[in-house]
């Protein structure tokens, strides 16, 4: 239906030229240069906007640098925040490769986190070993996330329900389900401040990567990105997904199980977002409450689009946006800007980025003669 999934550069090249490195670099460069150009234009437009408000753009970028990357503390804060961004971006990227625009990662994150916090309660009370508890929590979170987005994929394939709308609707439903239980039967009555589930306790929390303050979610995100990249570009499954994403009718004519592929892609995607929810609960919050819906799912959409739905590119883009999100508080306080500044910047980036889609194929320098018309 949509043509958002670009074929990987390596696939687009006829086999006779596949070994030619300069061709690969030139074709691949387009996918790097144009998003960077879009980022540059966004920075320029946002600077103009700040100037119009009488604020200093230079101060803004200095604060992003200091608040997001400058010191060891801020860098670790950034990496901490980029972990859910990597995972929720994967939730967008994988379905995008098969031609689906899924924007319900927030819902899968919230429900995955909530489910993992709930299954932890009996295990923590029963003093089961932390390692087993965490593994069980993580698998529950992933399973619930997989189910949640899997439903979206199923509805898309079986009933033709538009996946973009249904996945966002399911996010609202998911948040309502969590609120229902957190304010009702599963509420921890010893905590009068904020309705939450029972805390899992310090002994059961996910630890930090040795030598840092960053939890293991970052490693999980990077490993999953690499695995999914290999899955997409180096396996028959990935090949089938790309064929189905490029032309569903041709895929069906080839006898590919398109419905199954769609549902599996959505399920893996949901599992990633569910895992993000697990890490938010088990490494940051310690319990499930409304703070789970912090908007990582929405920023993840932008990250995935900026990375052109390439799992490997998602990691650096997620770190960049993790830094912008992390420096948000500092910027708002120092420059006396409203707390929606980061949201506005994200919206602007998204609009400029999608506008830049029109530039693909317009620059001669990236075109390889003879290769383009044969793909």
């Amino acid at each position: 239906m949509t043509d958002i999934a670009e074929p990987l550069p390596t696939v687009a090249i006829p086999s006779s030229q596949a070994g030619d490195l300069s061709v690969r670099i030139r074709r691949g460069a387009e996918y790097v240069v144009i998003p960077l150009l879009a980022l540059g234009i966004t920075a320029f437009l946002f600077s103009l906007f700040l100037l119009a408000l009488g604020k200093s753009p230079i101060q803004f970028f200095e604060l992003v640098e200091r608040g997001g990357f400058g010191t060891a503390f801020s860098l670790q804060n950034t990496l901490q925040r980029s972990s859910p961004l990597i995972l929720t971006a994967l939730c967008v990227a994988l379905p995008a490769r098969i031609g689906l625009v899924i924007i319900g990662g927030e819902g899968a994150l919230v429900l995955g986190g909530f489910a993992s916090a709930v299954v932890a309660i009996p295990l923590v009370l029963g003093k089961v070993s932390p390692l087993f508890t965490l593994l069980f929590m993580a698998s529950t979170g992933m399973l619930v996330g997989a189910l949640w987005i899997g439903i979206v994929g199923y509805l898309r394939y079986a009933r033709g329900v538009n996946e973009t709308i249904s996945s966002l609707l399911m996010t609202y439903i998911g948040i309502a389900i969590m609120n229902f239980f957190v304010e009702g039967s599963l509420r921890d009555l010893t905590n009068p401040n904020k309705p939450s589930t029972m805390p899992i306790g310090d002994a059961y929390m996910v630890g930090h990567i040795p030598g840092t303050d960053v939890h293991w979610g970052l490693i999980a995100g990077i490993v999953l990105s690499v695995l999914l990249y290999i899955l997409l570009s180096r396996t028959t499954f990935g090949f089938a997904v790309r064929v189905a994403g490029g032309n569903p009718r041709a895929a069906l004519a080839q006898g590919l199980p398109v419905g199954k592929l769609i549902i599996i892609c959505c399920a893996i995607a949901g599992a990633c977002a569910g895992l993000a929810g697990f890490f938010e609960v088990a490494a940051i919050q310690g319990r499930a409450n409304a703070s789970l819906a912090a908007g990582y799912g929405y920023t993840g959409i932008l990250v995935s689009f900026l990375a052109r739905h390439n799992p490997l590119a998602i990691v650096p883009v997620a770190i960049l946006f993790g830094g912008i999100v992390a420096s948000g508080g500092l910027i708002e306080r120092r420059m006396d800007l409203p707390d929606a500044t980061v949201l506005l910047l994200q919206g602007l980036t998204f609009v400029v980025l999608l506008t830049s889609e029109t530039l693909y194929g317009r620059f001669k320098i990236f075109q390889v003669r003879g290769a383009a018309d044969r793909t």
Binding site: M1, T2, D3, I4, V101, I103, L155, R159, G160, V161, N162, T164, I165, S166, L168, L169, M170, Y172, I173, A176, I177, N179, F180, E183, G184, Y298, I301, L302, F305, L337, P338, D339, A340, T341, L343, L344, L345, Q346, G347, L348, F350, V351, L353, L354, T355, E357, T358, Y360, G361
Partner: protein, 306 residues
Amino acid sequence: MSQNAAIIVILALIGGALRVSTPFMFVALGECLTEKSGRVNLGLEGTLVLGAMSGYAISYHSGSPWLGVLGAGCAGSVLGAMHGYICKLPRVNDIAVGIAMMLFGTGVAFFFGKPYIQPSAPRLGSFSLGAWTGNQEIATALQINPLLIVGIVVALVMAWAFANTKWGLIVRMTGDSAASARAMGVSVDLVRFICTTIGGFLAGIGGAFLSLYYPGSWNQGLSSGQGLMAVALVIFARWSPIRCVIAALLFGAAGSIGPALQSVGITQGYYFFNAAPYILTLFIMIASAGSKRAARDVPGELSITK
């Protein structure tokens, strides 16, 4: 539940349908026009929020709520025009741009809306259809806001114009087959640009309703998915303005199930009843997506149902 309580709940549902449905109606009508021309604007959720903010701000500064409604419409049409312009560029996907506009509209509204969370702006008035009964409860339940009437009139005009005017034919032709529109000498991009802009204008007015009538103040949690539900509602209404109005009333009733039950003392499952409109939308989408009638009425150029 006693009989009395049941009557209260039913009254509250009717009242809710009359009160809550207006934003759904405006957004759905705007989206209906946009989709009739062959494009999808998923960003109307952002338009709704920006309309609510700008309508409130203008009403606060000018003292006139109707000026606020107009301003909200203009703010909405700016977002609509942006969507319409970006989508006419080659290789740009209208659904993805809609998601971006959703984020952008919300961001702009929250950014500039911060100073307006506290002050109270003049609101739109209302009149009651039930005043003649002399019954206070019925009179309160049948409060009608002027924008509801405006919405119904817009729907009637749109339905008439689609069927009976040259402009209506051009819009429908552009939506059904861009190739034939081009062959007739119609600029497809221009028609879609205009339709998306007017669609944004209508959605902006829907937003002004939220902040100027019900709930009647501006805050960041004002709209939670109404704009998106309205987009889904257009599929259910099978691209007919009249059916959009009926569907909006149905959604308004569904949205007031929670508060209605709460008013008779049923608070159990409050969050679930608040989720009722989302669940209803999802079921409606499941039921209407695969139907033969929807397949017959869908504009041929639309990417949302392919």
